[in-house]
């Protein structure tokens, strides 16, 4: 059974998604337990698979029993083993945390919600695990489609934002497909490893360069890098809370993983960093993303829209860090990919918990929250500190690597952008803290005792606090995270071309 584990990671959530549709129609109460069980099994098998990969290197699982270039294969190495665990963990925590809100908001479409939820998770897991370029496109579409539906379920404004997300997402995916088409014309194969082997033998080099550019632009649209980010703040701000706190932490990170997989495995880093002059151009693009995103976030008056703008900044960190091209920058980008998923989950869950008690989404509406919802605000503080990059939390350690990379690469624009955005983050988050700390709650009286607290429901606060604790744990054990998972990915590259 151990050999079949990789397949389990994908099939279990898919079968659960199908089961949940039927459960939705027959007996509603079954939906949540089925989804919970599926994601638990997925997380477990992801961890076991990662154990296998750590034990005896990269793992290839042949679907349908066919040799890779003919059939489709899973390719799991240190890079995507960790991200599999990350995706299933975030999906699991969010599922548990948003149970009561979902049961209340989507009463009569519970089956559909949980099925779309699981299809979204399956799509992302499939993208991360697959070793076939076209198969990645199909799973990209599944994740996007269920994402459009989950995000679109809200007021009129959410529908329009989701429609824009459909347009941008489709253009991005189609550009990626076009890039794969170019590769197919030149090599005739779709399997990533096979492509990597065939590409050097191709003499029409300009086609490879154009296909690389197309793939990159398509992925930049999907991960909302600066000039192409317009859809993200609206899509995540207007969406219902449970789906925003699922999609926000994961989509941009998995798209980033696809970019890294493309550069490191398919096109080989030599093409991306040495032969094509786009490396420093993209880093300057990332600098623009960081600055613009920070200023945009500072201007917002609504809490969740501000948090969405911060995602644009984080994408700028990761893309900039990766394209610096040196070991520290790449390690920083990968570590930030892991950290940022948890950080975004923490603050979006906190925003969701606040939304259950305070109906105004504006920042001004958060008066006296430290007194009213102390635990939620404590988790929000930890999340905010992680994003600012204050030491005990994980954000600091990935920012440290990014800064290191920026300085070693001599790219002072990127280093300055990192520092400026940290300072702006301080302003942003402490603007929120001040409102929650200083301004008195309407019937706020000083000498209130314990019973005054109106916390969010317990099954929302406990996962939230667990995530906050996780942020600190990831911070303290960042070094073992790096040496365990990220080092084996980066070190072979360093000896090689760079």
């Amino acid at each position: 059974m151990i050999l079949q584990l990789p397949a389990l990671i994908i099939i279990v959530p898919l079968l659960a998604a199908l089961g949940v549709i039927i459960a939705g129609w027959l007996r509603n109460a079954l939906c949540f337990p089925a989804a919970l069980a599926a994601l638990l099994v997925t997380l477990l098998s992801a961890i076991l698979v990662m154990g296998q990969v750590m034990h005896d290197g990269a793992l290839i699982y042949r679907l349908g029993g066919w040799e890779p270039p003919w059939g489709i294969s899973f390719y799991i190495d240190h890079l995507n083993g960790v991200i599999l665990i990350l995706v299933s963990l975030v999906a699991l925590i969010n599922l548990i945390a948003t149970r009561s809100v979902v049961a209340q908001v989507f009463k009569n479409r519970l089956g559909a919600f949980y099925s779309l939820y699981l299809l979204f998770a399956t799509g992302l897991l499939g993208i991360v695990i697959t070793g076939d370029a076209f198969n990645l496109y199909v799973l990209l579409e599944i994740a996007s489609l269920s994402g459009y539906a989950l995000l679109g379920m809200g007021g009129g404004r959410a529908r329009l934002a989701s429609l824009h997300y459909v347009f941008m997402g489709t253009i991005g995916a189609s550009l990626y497909l076009l890039g794969i088409g170019y590769l197919y014309i030149v090599t005739g194969s779709l399997n990533m490893l096979d492509l990597a082997a065939l590409l050097p033998t191709v003499e029409k080099v300009s086609l490879i360069h154009v296909s690389f550019i197309l793939c990159l632009v398509g992925l930049f649209i999907k991960m909302a890098l600066f000039p192409l980010h317009a859809w993200l703040p609206n899509a995540y701000a207007q969406a219902p809370n449970p789906s925003a706190s699922l999609i926000a932490p994961l989509t941009t990170k998995v798209m980033l993983y696809v970019m890294i997989r493309m550069v490191l495995t398919v096109y080989r880093p030599d093409l991306a960093f040495n032969r094509l002059p786009i490396g420093s151009l993209i880093v300057w693009l990332a600098v623009a993303a960081i600055i613009a995103g920070s200023l945009l976030a500072y201007k917002q008056t609504r809490l969740r829209r501000m948090l969405a703008c911060i995602i644009v900044v984080e994408v700028g960190y990761m893309v900039g860090g990766f394209w610096l091209g040196n070991a520290a920058g790449m390690t920083g980008a990968l570590l930030h990919l892991l950290n940022d998923a948890m950080m975004t989950l923490c603050i979006f869950l906190a925003a969701g918990a606040i939304a259950t008690r305070v109906h105004a989404d504006t920042i001004a509406g958060l008066q006296g929250l430290f007194r009213k919802m102390p635990f939620t605000m404590a988790a929000f503080v930890v999340g905010a500190l992680a994003i600012i990059g204050v030491p005990p939390t994980c954000g600091f350690f990935s920012k440290w690597y990014l800064l290191n990379g920026g300085i070693e690469a001599g790219h002072f624009g990127f280093t300055a952008a990192l520092i400026i955005s940290s300072l702006v983050n301080i302003l942003i988050f402490f603007k929120v803290m001040e409102v929650a700390y200083f301004e008195p709650f309407e019937n706020h009286h000083h000498h209130s005792n314990g019973q005054f607290i109106q916390e969010a429901p317990l099954d929302m606060v406990v996962p939230l606090l667990a995530t906050a604790g996780f942020l600190i744990a990831m911070g303290i054990y960042a070094h073992s995270l790096v040496t365990g998972f990220i080092e084996p990915v980066i070190s072979p590259l360093m000896m090689g071309s760079l």
């Binding site: 539906a149 529908r159 429609l163 459909v166 489709t170 253009i171 014309i185």
Partner: protein
């Protein structure tokens, strides 16, 4: 038709007009998404863009003087497989991929139309600028 020698520019056009058609369709589709004001026209533009890419893959699959990729009855049955020449049949792989891409474009079209229908139910218009005005008015009433 074989014997008639064609000038090389005609040869060149025959060899490449498919790709130009695909490129033009892509430009039309992309421009429609960006520039059009009506939501359904944007959706149509999106569909054109996806169809263009499907066409692009299909042009890769074609082979001159090759039939559709179904092995003719009795050809290479049992005796020996060597009888099947690859040049005789078109390339099946892109057609499989495009089956998937067609299904994906239909699914995306379905979701986009569902969103458009629900927006129309809510705002009674599909013109984006009118929708944005109503949204702004709603925003002012709320604050």
């Amino acid at each position: 038709m074989k014997g008639l020698s064609m000038p090389d520019w005609a040869e060149f056009i025959i060899a490449n007009y498919n790709y130009w058609g695909v490129a033009v369709l892509m430009m039309i589709g992309l421009y429609a998404i960006i520039a059009k004001n009506n939501l359904v026209k944007k959706i149509i533009g999106m569909n054109i863009f996806q169809v263009a890419i499907i066409l692009f893959y299909i042009t890769i699959a074609t082979k001159l003087e090759a039939t559709i990729p179904i092995i003719r009855h009795g050809h290479g049955h049992g005796a020996h497989a060597a009888g099947i020449q690859a040049a005789g049949y078109m390339n099946p792989l892109p057609q499989v991929l495009m089956l998937t891409a067609i299904v994906v474009s239909v699914a995306t079209l379905g979701v986009a139309l569902a969103l458009a229908v629900s927006i129309y139910q809510r705002y009674d218009t599909l013109e984006e600028d009118e929708i944005l005005e109503q949204l702004k008015a709603e925003e002012l009433r709320q604050v």
